[in-house]
Assembly symmetry: none
Homo-oligomer: 214 residues x 4
DNA sequence: TATGAATGAGTTTTCATTCAT
DNA sequence: AATGAATGAAAACTCATTCAT
């Protein structure tokens, strides 16, 4: 194994661990893979992983972070880059981006569900603070952009983001709850045709933003 | 130790285990208490707990169920008992009931977060199906009541419930994410006064229902 | 459940437990069934079984005893009832009876293998002594009959019995060792056609008795 | 703790675990020692033992194997190295080697009795197959040597070995059955002087081989 | 830096047996 | 005598993390 001597090498190795962890979690059954599995998937020895991360959970916190930040960053293009659209049109573009990302990387929401209960319980305080600060930073920046683009009161953009996020993760968890029943032929909603999660989420977010921007 | 000989005694003992588990989880740090702790809190031997529940997680699935069902059942009074109110007024009464319950029993949402990832992974298939069926039943019944009270298309009531639930659990998880930062004096939203979770949730649900009923 | 009030009833109930245990073990995977399983198979409550036997293992010790004693008792007919046959002919009649019994009740040898290691370790000293005395008695009586029928030195008959028994249980255990391999297509003895256990045992016993009576 | 880094170190550590397990079992009461006990006796942590063996029972299967293989290997010297002796003389040399080994390492037979019932039930299929294949290999090789040395039909040597082994283990188990009685002053064979197990086994094997080679 | 051998804390669940009813 | 609820001891095994090499 080549040694990661300079800063760039180290970053690359760090990324490769995160990527291995993400893929492994995506393929898995909803529980965190073991540290040994992550190391093996990254082509490293167990000990090496612990050079880059203090605890196993720190890895997955960073998987989450690296998963969500791009979506938050995308507000730059979506909101600021389209001054001519109406507020609702801009909102809908963001809704679409959110749904697309979530459908594309379903492991993000699965991992999210482990966040507070499992992941955060096994991080060092420093790593936890760092994780939250970075998340917070992305959120505040994105919120500011929304405030500005939609001419909202300061702080309202963050609130909308948080609620969008909340509805998304909540709906995903709830939808998952009933998949098994449907698999067994038991209808959750008997009189309505079952709609796919992406559509369900889209509708729900649309409803929320309409209410919020009303 | 009194022996639970008849069916009634057995039900009472079962309840006492659930109650002990609930209280223990409420006081704990977000992880499931050990089976030994639950047994001790219920004043029983470890083995006795396993007479009533197949696995530890089955206990907590039932804590969840017994926690949510009353809220779903409350739709009976809230929606059907108030035909003279407007749709939005009825919705607001339900929002209030939801917020009150959640504020009153915060462990419900904390436990919820463990649902799919931890709890359901360690239940017997039978217990899991039973749990989901009972949850589903409560949901469908409540949804029907809402359909009827608000003159909605069949199945729309369930959808509203699911989305309310989704927003609630999602928002709670998200809010929890930032408590620590605020505890450390770092503002999530710098320019707005911080509002308590109950108010935040209330506003968000209000926004959602306004959008949904528009 | 009818109560076993007189001695006869009690004996019958005891037998029914032994029979249930025997059948259960025969169907099982080589480990002792649980006490609960034995009770259920006998149509009794767990506690009832413990009225008749001090420990679970005492049950199975008695299953062994009731299984072997008839074979030992059969020496009466086989050896004494046939004065006109040669020694070897009489031996062969006994060999046949032994092979037949063992083939008929394969659980006897399977259970035998658990004897000293598992069963006897969990019996009360009294029950253990009783078990051994009864076994010993059957053995001595049968041995005496053989001594007399074959005009052997006193004690030689018991020795022959013990060695017959030893070869039988040993061969059975050894044969079992290789079943799996043969199932997987791996020959234990490549150049010889595989013979069934009953024939193998018959040959081995024949060889032994020929050597012993020479 | 020195780390077993290369292959040789690892083999040595593996051996030390097997040896600790063997000694522990020899001193014990006939039940398998716990994994914790084996680890402690080997001067290792519990977890370390599980690096070398998948299950506790795999350890003891290997104790058995390492115990029997030398005896099987000894056929090389005993049979092939003595072409001038008669068949019976060669057989007797093997009988002596067998008795000596068994007397020297009585734990082998005690452990043998746990083989099929306890040990094999708790091994991974792979470990079980490996164990059987290695045993089988030793047996076939030894059998071939006997065939060749005694000019027997192919496969007959293995058969003789199996029956020798069967008689040995069976006789040992049976002898153990009555030790307690004799300890309590109750004679199994009242009219004969009690002979030690080694002599008993020797005589029985002698009788068997005489019959078999006749 | 990289490795992977060693560590040992930590917890569920089973099940033989007891004993109140 | 019969029941079955209650007991609690007992132990294997995993896996995150460390640290000697």
């Amino acid at each position: 194994m080549l040694r990661a001597v300079d800063q760039e090498d180290r970053q690359a190795r760090r990324k490769s661990i995160l990527e291995a962890a993400r893929v492994l979690f995506r393929q898995g059954d909803g529980r965190l893979p073991t540290a040994a599995e992550v190391a093996a998937a990254a082509g490293l020895a167990k000990g090496t992983v612990y050079i880059y991360f203090k605890t196993k959970e720190e890895i997955f916190a960073n998987v989450l972070l690296e998963g969500w930040l791009p979506l938050l960053a995308s507000t730059e293009t979506i909101f600021l880059g389209s001054k001519k659209k109406s507020r609702l049109q801009q909102a809908q573009a963001f809704i679409k981006a959110t749904v697309d990302r979530v459908v594309d990387e379903p492991e993000l929401l699965r991992l999210d569900a482990l966040g507070a209960s499992v992941i955060e319980k096994n991080m060092t305080p420093e790593a936890l603070l760092d994780y939250k600060l970075r998340f917070n930073k992305g959120l505040l920046d994105a919120g500011d952009r929304i405030d500005s683009a939609l001419s909202l009161a300061p702080g309202r953009g963050v609130q909308l983001l948080l609620r969008t996020y909340a509805l998304t993760r909540g709906l995903w968890q709830t939808a998952g709850n009933f998949e098994q029943l449907e698999g067994a032929g038991i209808a959750v909603v008997s009189t309505r045709p079952k709609i796919p999660f992406s559509q369900d989420l889209h509708e729900a977010l649309d409803e929320y933003w309409r209410g919020a921007l009303a």
